[in-house]
Amino acid sequence: MEPKPLSAPIWNSSLHPPARPTSAANAGVDDVEIRSVLLARWAGAARSLRRPGFVLAACFIVFVLLAAAVPEWLRRYDPYATSVSEKLLAPSFRHWFGTDQLGRDLYARVICGSTLSVEAALAAVGIALVGGVSLGVLSGFVGGKVDALIMRGVDVLLALPALLLSLAIITAIGFGTMPVAIAVGMGILPGFARTTRAEVLRVKTLPYVEAARLGGASAGRTLLTHVLPNSWGPVAVLATLDFGVAIVAAAGLSFLGFGAAPPAAEWGTLIASGRNFQMTAPWLSLLPGLFVVATVFGLNHIARTMEELWR
């Protein structure tokens, strides 16, 4: 081994092979039904379906995702059809969320807005996931100077308040749904890098990783087949949590006026434009906001249930 292997710590720790019970001592244990981790997780998932809170949250999130994917299934009115005679109507059976200053059905607009908002949040989490996980894996798996360098970079990014980092990025690349998504993604990326690194550091000292390396697997193979699949649990929980964070952040940025240009409307834009009529028609800003709150709360609830499952 002239060039130092990438995963030096693994070899170092293999000086102390963990004591494995011999097959004779193991005889009694073998009778126990062996359940794979996957099976246990499915059982856990099935258990969680018995919790009413979780089911409710999951149903609402499915509804939101459906609204984002096929908005025309879930609305009766055209979100862009104006009607002067029906402007600023309070919520009723005909118009669930009321109508806005141009007589457009607010419920249809919220449903339609979910396409852009969910897209932005998904893109943001995607960017953060890809960037953060690669940085985290690089940092945790390679270690040494690379690790130090990446982690100092992450520290610097964490020192910039997330929204202000987003504002700087938006100033540079302009307004719209995608710039907002990129800005939000960059804001939550450091968290992913840290979590992934911590997980990779934990997993790479486990006996089966050592065994794989001793068995002759290359660093890349060990990483892909052993370290990554076993590190992604906490990352998945973080992704679910940060999906909610991304929705709030994207709504905040479009509330500040940096989102898609009208008449297209994201949730944040709807809330912001409803503000002008808050005195006379409070539902215009409050109901789209309530929709955002429900979505985020649902996501947080699911993430917390997942966290319990993975423990």
């Binding site: 910039l160 808050q278 409050l286 985020v296």
Partner: protein
């Protein structure tokens, strides 16, 4: 100990320098043509300018000597408190900052104080409750509160307390009454996090042997809670408060917009809308500085408040 303090201070300044550099890279090097952005922000159409005018503009914005030179000059200026001139307002950025900073400071400081009081009070109340049902219901409240975006809770607060009940003004900067709703709105997300962490800490601390000892000595539940549980649970809060300053600064941008207050956050929002690059850079730098300094302070205070840490360091 001195070494630790000096090292920590040096590290804080390094991080601050890094943050400034990152903000500079994003704002000046990410756009393909920063001159267009700068000129458009100043209200000049780039097509109407002749070659000589363009060269003059390039010189004015310090773009003619390349990025490194520009960066060094900006950094040198920032170190001396000179952040250049606002593109849209035509006044120096430092005077804008000086004018807006006190308003945001008042808002953020009252929000941080309120959030600590709310978080502590709530956790204390829930820990003191003996009725399990209510307790379980209340324990879920912080999680709910932390998923409410500040711009929405702000609008709700305006709707209820300003328009509905008419107790407090819905917007403005003047006086204490105008500060109440914004500060309360801004304090909620942090308070929710403090309450969650404290509740978990309380339940952990109550399992510790020294609690049993305290109870065995004859201290009442309330006394034990106050003297032992609270003190041990409250220390990690300090770190958390430092970290939450970042969220408070972020929240201030939204809250100031919702309540129509004058402040750094509003300044940032307007600057981004008009692509006023020097102002954005300055606000980002100032908020990063506040965040880094508060956390430095927390780290330096920690050994003073927790003798266990100070002693451990002396030994090591």
């Amino acid at each position: 100990m001195t070494r630790y303090i000096l090292g920590r201070i040096a590290q804080a300044f390094l991080v601050l320098w890094g943050a400034y550099t990152v903000a500079y890279l994003i704002l000046y090097l990410l756009p393909s043509d920063s001159l267009t952005i700068l000129l458009t922000a100043s209200g000049v159409e780039i097509d109407t300018l002749s070659k000589t005018d363009l060269a003059k503009a390039r010189h004015y914005y310090g773009l003619e000597h390349g990025a490194l030179d520009q960066y060094l000059r900006l950094l040198w200026g920032a170190l001396h408190g000179d952040f250049g001139v606002s593109l849209t307002k035509g006044v120096s950025v430092s005077s804008l900052l000086a004018q807006r900073f006190p308003h945001t400071l008042a808002l953020a400081a009252s929000a941080v104080t309120l959030s600590i009081l709310e978080g502590l009070g709530f956790a204390y109340l829930v820990a003191a409750l003996r009725w399990v049902r209510i307790r379980q219901a209340l324990q879920r409240l912080p999680a709910l509160a932390s998923s409410v975006p500040v711009f929405w809770s702000g609008l709700l607060a305006i709707q209820i307390f300003a328009f509905g009940l008419g107790w407090l003004p819905s917007s403005g900067n003047e006086g204490f009454a105008a500060l109440v709703l914004p500060a309360w709105t801004l304090s909620l997300p942090s308070a929710a996090i403090y309450a969650q962490v404290l509740l978990r800490k309380f339940s952990d601390v109550w399992k510790e042997p020294y609690i049993t000892t305290a109870r065995a000595k004859g201290l009442s539940r309330a006394q034990t809670q106050w003297r032992h549980a609270l003190r041990n649970a409250a220390l990690p809060m300090l770190t958390l408060v430092g970290l939450q300053v970042g969220n408070t600064v972020s929240g201030a941008v939204l809250v100031e917009t919702v309540f129509g207050r004058v402040g750094l956050g509003r300044l940032a929002q307007e600057a981004v809308l008009r692509q006023d690059v020097p102002v954005v850079l300055a606000v980002v730098a100032v908020s990063a500085a506040v965040f880094v300094l508060v956390n430095l302070l927390v780290d330096l205070l920690y050994p003073m408040l927790d003798p266990r840490i100070a002693r451990a360091q002396r030994v090591g």
